[in-house]
């Protein structure tokens, strides 16, 4: 930058002495790797022999997933009464699990969309896997409300499709808003993921072609749509990607806002609060980053991806977990404060009951996992200890499940009239069905890491120093 050194006679002498601070750029791909190293590394995972651990995990995941299949088959054959719902708790694990899984998905969209808009380039190495996580989490989430309708063959009544009763959906209901929010979210997440995959599928198409595997080349080639790396295409592609990021950001915020409306729009003490939308969104991102850490840390170790998922990436994820976990902690405190300050005896009772009533055990698990656990991330030594970070991420997942349980079940079990109070426990069918969704999720995720590039190669190449048209490093 030669012009910076020329003394301009119009500027005071002191300003000529002031030099702009030169901040070192974070290294996103460590050890100065070449473009072809990135291609080899990512494609090698797909092209290599299926590792033994993959088969072990896959069989185990299929076994776990069979619990969901069995639980749902039994429910369809028998009726929704096989779940433990009964008055007054007619919404329990199904909606807890639904909100839990949807929330996990949100970190994927946050990473792919919001961090894209904020030009946080460290997202590149984790965004593909995080988006896959979003899609699979939405699949797991959808299982619960769909089967909770009881007669699942009528689930299409959720959508405004003309039917023989000539009646339409009640669009005043937040539950109907939720149908649109979640199905839009699922669709847009899949499309966003697919658009991101296009250039990488083209890479695989050409690699399988030159290694003689015509079948796989044709398969990847079919989905690559004939992508040829044309810069005229990249120009439209980049714009489309930016717009998708731009619309996914309000989408992800609106989805969990609308999920929280399922509760906040009702009149039940403990649900009827205006803090719910931001509090749910923060919780969703918190739980999602917990899940990203849970998934990415083992993947990084197994595939030796330390140069692509660097300590800087882990630091960033830990810090977001810390920030959102602290927001969630603040929301817990604020709920209590407003319950007292609002002077509504029902509201006050609902919160005292959460902390000291029959479900106090769940409340304190929630507080310790969600408020205390992330505070460890203040310390650099903790963030650098990968195994410890992984264990903490599990606590985050557990804590966020309990958050939904506490909100939903404690409020319903103790509402206005003591005569209608109850205590809810899940049935074994419910427990199996939920347990099995971890298998469903793992099966899908294992297939993803085996057959699709787990990191966006094109985007990773674009953040390396040699991608700069001015010869690396220099600003322009």
């Amino acid at each position: 930058m030669a012009h910076a050194h020329h003394a301009d006679p119009a500027t005071p002498a002191i300003l000529q002495e002031v030099k702009p601070a030169s901040l070192p750029r974070a290294i996103l791909v460590a050890n100065n790797r070449s473009f072809s190293w990135i291609t080899e590394k990512i494609c090698g995972i797909i092209e290599g022999k299926t590792p033994t651990w993959w088969w072990v995990c896959f069989v185990l995941a299929c076994f776990v997933a069979s619990f969901t299949v069995a639980g749902i088959a039994y429910l369809i054959a028998t009726g929704v009464g096989v779940w433990g719902h009964a008055n007054p708790v007619n919404w329990a694990w199904d909606i807890v699990n639904f909100v839990f899984w949807i929330g996990i998905g949100h970190a994927g969209t946050l990473i792919s969309a919001i961090l894209c808009l904020l030009r946080q380039k460290w997202r590149t190495s984790i965004n593909r896997a995080a988006e896959a996580m979003t899609i699979f989490a939405v699949v797991c989430a959808a299982i619960f409300p769909v089967f909770h309708v009881g007669r699942v063959w009528y689930a299409w009544y959720l959508f405004p499709i003309p039917n023989s009763n000539a009646i339409w959906q009640n669009f005043r209901s937040p539950l109907e808003w939720d149908v649109f929010a979640v199905s839009t979210y699922g669709t847009v997440s899949v499309l966003f993921w697919y658009v991101g995959l296009l250039p990488d599928l083209a890479v695989l198409r050409d690699r399988f072609y030159s290694s003689g595997n015509k079948l796989r080349s044709a398969l990847y080639g079919f989905f690559a749509l004939g992508w040829r790396g044309s810069n005229r295409h990249w120009s439209n592609y980049e714009m489309a990607y930016l717009i998708l990021a731009g619309i996914s950001t309000p989408l992800v915020l609106s989805v969990h806002t609308i999920v929280s409306f399922d509760f906040a729009v009702s009149l039940l003490p403990g649900w009827h609060t205006t803090i719910f939308p931001p509090y749910f969104v923060a919780g969703a991102i918190f739980s999602g980053f917990g899940m990203v850490l849970t998934l990415m840390l083992p993947l990084r170790a197994v595939y030796k991806l330390e140069d692509l998922i660097t300590q800087y990436h882990i630091d960033c994820m830990c810090k977001i977990t810390l920030a959102t976990g602290t927001i969630v902690g603040y929301a817990y405190a604020m709920e209590f404060f407003i319950a007292w300050y609002g002077a509504n005896p029902y509201e006050g009772f609902a919160f005292i009951n959460r902390a000291f009533g029959h479900y106090a055990w769940a409340y304190w698990i929630m507080i310790s996992c969600n408020v205390i656990t992330p505070q460890f991330f203040w310390f650099k030594a903790v963030r650098e200890n990968t195994s410890f970070v992984w264990i903490l991420s599990i606590f985050v997942n557990v804590g966020m499940w309990f958050e939904r349980f506490v909100i939903i079940v404690t409020s319903l079990a103790r509402d206005f009239l003591p005569s209608s109070w109850g205590y809810y426990s899940p049935s074994i069918v419910e427990i199996f069905t939920f347990f099995g969704t971890f298998g469903v999720f793992s099966v899908l995720f294992l297939l993803f890491i085996r057959f699709l590039p787990i990191m966006p190669m094109a985007e990773l190449k674009a953040v390396t120093p040699q991608a700069d048209v001015h010869g690396g490093g220099a600003h322009h």
């Binding site: 473009f35 083209a202 980049e238 714009m239 619309i247 409306f261």
Partner: protein, 177 residues
Amino acid sequence: MAAPSYGLIATFDTTPDLYHAAAKVRDAGYRNWDCITPFPVHGLDKAMGLPRSIVPRISLVGGIIGFCTGMSMIWWTGAVDYQLIVGGKPLFSPMFAFPVSYELTILFTAFATIGGMLFLNGLPMHYHPVLKYEHIRRGMDDQFFIVIETRDPRFNLANTKALLEKAGGKNISELEA
């Protein structure tokens, strides 16, 4: 007889090489030409003289259609086709119709954006002369190409080849159509 030629293709090893070469091809006044890169190269649009993408306009149209679809669907189903009073609430209000319309705005914007991007790029197109190039695999991996088509009015085998050579292109060869 040789197959008809689609154009000339030249290889560049580094991003700066490609960038400067693209600027030279642009300044020479070519129109039907392209750069093949394994990733979106920042600043290359300017070096190629490409205008801003019009995808956003298509997205906007999609979004407006989505919002109107949501509002009119809820109004027609609830207030016209089958009127049903629930909880004493109005048959239609833009307030309760908003969340669904909002989601449909986003959904239709996404469809329009992706559909528009594919339409403008002429995809899917599984056959293309560039894809037949023997080293195309490197163009998806770590090399950069410039392709100048024979249909360009300024195309002249000798002159165009000289231009690409002068711009630092290597391995200049003809592409079969």
